[in-house]
Amino acid sequence: MHEMSIAQSIVEIVEETMAGQNGNGKLKEVVVEIGELVAVVPDSLEFCYQALVQDTPYTDSKIRIEILPLTGNCTDCNKQFHVENFMFNCPYCDSVTIEILSGQNELNIKYLEIE
């Protein structure tokens, strides 16, 4: 259960970003992208975020979580694919020399929506 510390880091970045807006606009949504392999439970993260922003200027804001699919590129046959069931070999030629393109370690705040 590390979603609370992740939510705290998100709120810190939100505060820093909103401070740069000089009080203009109200935060509606925080958009976060998380890699499919990254061990974060979206429901828990949402719960923790809501708990942290309660009774703050961001109390009405929501967090939107986009999951980045786990995809790879085979360096032998050069095909790209979604890694199914965490089988880290190429579904076309069975090679294990694949490079991960996305979904392995992303945990990013993409943007804030304000109005």
Partner: protein, 216 residues
Amino acid sequence: MAVVTVERKVLKKNEMVAGENRKIFGDKGIFTLNLLSSPGSGKTSLLEKTLESLSGRLNLAVVEGDVQTDNDAQRISAYDVPVVQIVTNGGCHLEAKLVQDALPNFNLDQLDFLIIENVGNLVCPANYDLGEHKKVVLISTTEGDDKPLKYPAMFRVADLMIINKIDLLQYVDFNLEKVIENARQINPNLEIISLSCRTGENLKEWISWLETQKIK
């Protein structure tokens, strides 16, 4: 409605501190390990056996991470090596800053190895870089041989998997070939050593693996 682009890593702060730790370990020539497993796989027992073999020959220090108690640090201090206990008070993983704060307790110029025993947990610690050189994940034969499939993130980022308690293989339904197959499915480059901390079987392979990692 307006959009303010942020494009920032949520764990950037931890990654920055981990980078600072990595520089310290590199500059001082200290090979640093992050030791990970479920509770009860035998991390502390492996450490005890390691210290038995290596103390006197190499300079080691240990950082112990636990949710509560300094029981593990007490076990380690019996081997006359510097040890710092980090109690996370409920926190499920160590962060780079906690490790950095522990470093002033050691004489870094003299150290060859720093072993960080993380909190027993196969989920959260996978996301937190501590600045270590390698991650070693421990699994024991009293657990399920499908554990690598259940916790793919951890086994994907690990460099070495140690299978402990092989003295119990004849009493449990754990299939050694199966766990290796499952682990290599997640991480084809994973190094694997099976051993028993209790009987000492094959401990040598682990000790020589560790010795070859020495930097200075």
